[in-house]
């Protein structure tokens, strides 16, 4: 099998580190840094999978030149996703493998939920604190988008949702899921260090994860300065690509997650609508 690795020189080099470890995959790297490069670009015919890591402003142009039958992998969600959404929807083999979806802690929590370890689900808390950032998709960051994708992938669609936004620094959203369990989603921006906290409950127990409480290495200098280390082994990008590769070799159905991305965007739209109207929203887009 052959993977076409298309992106900026820096991204291609980073992605190549992973693909070179997969013996069953030949790699065809293509560096695209400008619109000019796109006009000269032709994808060779025998490519099975495209790993697309071009910069945001070039992605639409590159996508237009790729055969819609080729499997495409993107490892980040871009702010202009609405522009190329049609291309994504036409292509049956499209996967967004975003960063938080592939972190070991979230993968582990998701597995427990999928295997119904908690039994009937109850009330959950998901909190992401981040340092100030430039919004990527409709005032949400990459990490926030990815966390929302994780929520959709783990728990399915929402039934109702009510959100409040305070000065774009603190968004709290109460999500009622289709099985009537609840999630309180908290996105706090610019309150010190970044931190993820998750608590999931069900009739059979509780799963709790706190980035702060699971930091294995803490360095404290004589002047009081502290530094935390959270070594994970394989880098996240490596995990993203590995996850996508596994899905790809399993076949078409397991690979495409366009529906999941669309549902994530629906949740984002509902959060924004609820904030604007100061009313709870239902899944069909109306007020409750």
């Amino acid at each position: 099998m052959k993977v076409g690795l298309i992106g900026s020189e820096q991204n291609v080099a980073m992605h190549l580190e992973y693909w070179s470890t997969v013996p069953t995959m030949d790699v065809e790297p293509v560096v695209i840094e400008s619109q000019e490069d796109i006009s000269l670009f032709h994808l060779v015919n025998d490519i099975d999978l495209v790993d697309l890591c071009v910069s945001e402003e070039l992605i639409e142009g590159v996508l237009e030149r790729i055969n819609s039958q080729v499997a495409i992998l993107v490892t980040e969600v871009h702010s202009n996703i609405d522009k190329y959404k049609d291309i994504v929807e036409e292509n049956t083999l499209f996967r967004f493998s975003t960063s938080m979806m592939c972190t070991p802690e979230l993968t582990s929590l998701q597995e427990q939920i999928k295997h119904k370890q908690l039994g009937r689900l109850g009330v959950h808390y998901v909190s992401l604190k981040s340092q100030p950032f430039l919004p990527v998709y409709r005032s949400f960051s990459h990490k926030e988008f990815s966390l929302l994708q994780w929520i959709v992938a783990t728990f399915g669609a929402f039934k109702t949702l009510y959100a409040k936004n305070i000065n774009n620094r603190y968004i709290t959203t109460q999500i009622r899921l289709m099985d009537d369990s609840f999630i309180q989603l908290e996105l706090a921006r610019g309150f010190g260090k970044g931190e993820l906290t998750i608590e999931l409950t069900g009739v059979a127990g509780m799963l709790s994860y706190s980035e702060e409480d699971t930091t294995p290495i803490q360095l404290t200098m004589n002047n009081g300065e502290e530094q935390a280390f959270r070594p994970l082994g394989k880098p996240i990008l490596h995990r993203q690509l590995q996850d996508a590769y596994h899905c790809f070799v399993q076949g078409e159905q397991g690979f495409s997650n366009v529906e999941e991305i669309n549902k994530t965007i629906q949740v984002i739209d509902a959060i924004n609508q609820s904030i604007e109207q100061d009313e709870p929203m239902t899944n069909n887009g109306g007020c409750q």
Binding site: G122, V123, S127, Q174, D180, E186, G192, P280
Partner: protein
């Protein structure tokens, strides 16, 4: 020496209050009334005091005050009886199950010129008092939002009988958080949006839910009052508050200071809190309040305001929309 009687040990806090009374050198637990005669006798033996099976008879004695720990729905009857007998009152939370009942109870106390204090012991937790100081000093600037939890394990018994409790975890827990926030911020609740359900146990009251309040100042508050702590959880539950302010955030866990006990006998890990007992703080303050004849630190009005919020939350859950107070 102030003489105090306890009306009912239905609520488990009565034990903690009785222990606190015994520690206080200005008070004496003189008598106990309980509609459960066996429990009443057991408690009277435990605390070396007198059991009455006739409440009127107990109220005719020369006790100065009573602590009411009966089932929520009986608070009204017991407060009014005690007030008419000119006894000062510390009433377990929630003050009542209906707003009108709370108003009648307050009127009875006012007409009889007796003190009515409502038991919100969280105000007495050293961590909460330190938190208040930090907030009032505006160390994190103006408050934007607050996330709170008052989780617990499902208490069972009359707590899950709506005819005696008036409701489940929302009735049991929301009042604590609302009281603390009203006290610290000197702010009132403007509107609420609440969703409740029974997800964990086969019981006729709600065992979980989530609440979003907007205060009059615009501050947004979330409350998780669920009885969602598993049986293996290392403590009965939690009281946590996280303030997000213009200049920073403040995270508070009222029960965080603990010794961990790896208990092989019970096959669980237990957390034993070692800070000053908040129930003891509450009892000492009530005794001081009666002795000094001063306005209670926590008034009937405080109890009423928190109950109004709880009732608005139930209305919001029923109507599936935001409800203004």
């Amino acid at each position: 020496m102030m003489k105090i009687g306890i009306i009912s040990f239905a609520h488990m806090h009565a034990l903690s209050y009785a222990n606190a009374l015994q520690k206080n050198s200005h008070s004496e637990l003189t008598c106990i009334w309980d509609n459960d005669r066996q429990r009443g006798h057991e408690m009277a033996n435990k605390y070396q005091t007198t059991y009455y099976d006739d409440l009127d008879q107990m109220l005719e004695t020369d006790i100065d005050a009573v602590i009411i720990c009966s089932e929520n729905v009986h608070h009204k009857q017991h407060v009014i009886l005690a007030a008419n007998a000119k006894k000062h009152i510390l009433c377990e939370k929630p003050i009542a199950t209906e707003v009108e009942d709370a108003q009648e109870m307050m009127a009875a106390c006012k007409n009889n010129d007796v003190i009515l204090q409502v038991a919100f012991p969280v105000r007495f937790a050293p961590t909460i008092q330190e938190m208040k100081q930090i907030i009032r000093e505006k160390r994190i600037g103006d408050i934007l939002a607050i996330r709170t939890t008052n989780h617990g394990q499902m208490p069972g018994g009359w707590f899950v009988d709506p005819t005696l409790s008036g409701g489940g975890c929302a009735t049991d827990h929301i009042v604590h958080i609302v009281d603390v926030l009203r006290w610290i911020l000197q702010d009132e609740v403007n509107d609420v949006y609440a969703v409740f359900d029974t997800k964990f146990y086969d019981i006729p009251v709600e065992d979980c839910g989530q609440v979003i309040l907007t205060l009059e100042s615009g501050v947004v508050v979330t409350i998780d009052p669920s009885w969602s702590r598993p049986k293996t959880f290392p403590t009965w539950g939690d009281v946590t508050l996280e303030f997000f302010g213009e200049n920073g955030s403040l995270k508070v866990d009222a029960l965080k200071q603990h010794v961990t006990y790896y208990n092989d006998i019970n096959q669980r890990i237990e957390e034993m809190v070692y800070t000053d007992d908040m129930d003891e703080g509450l009892i000492n303050d009530f005794i001081d309040c009666v002795q000094q004849q001063r306005k209670p630190f926590i008034t009937g009005e405080d109890g009423l305001k928190t109950l109004e919020v709880v009732k608005a939350c139930y209305r919001s859950n029923q109507l599936q929309q935001k409800v203004a107070l």
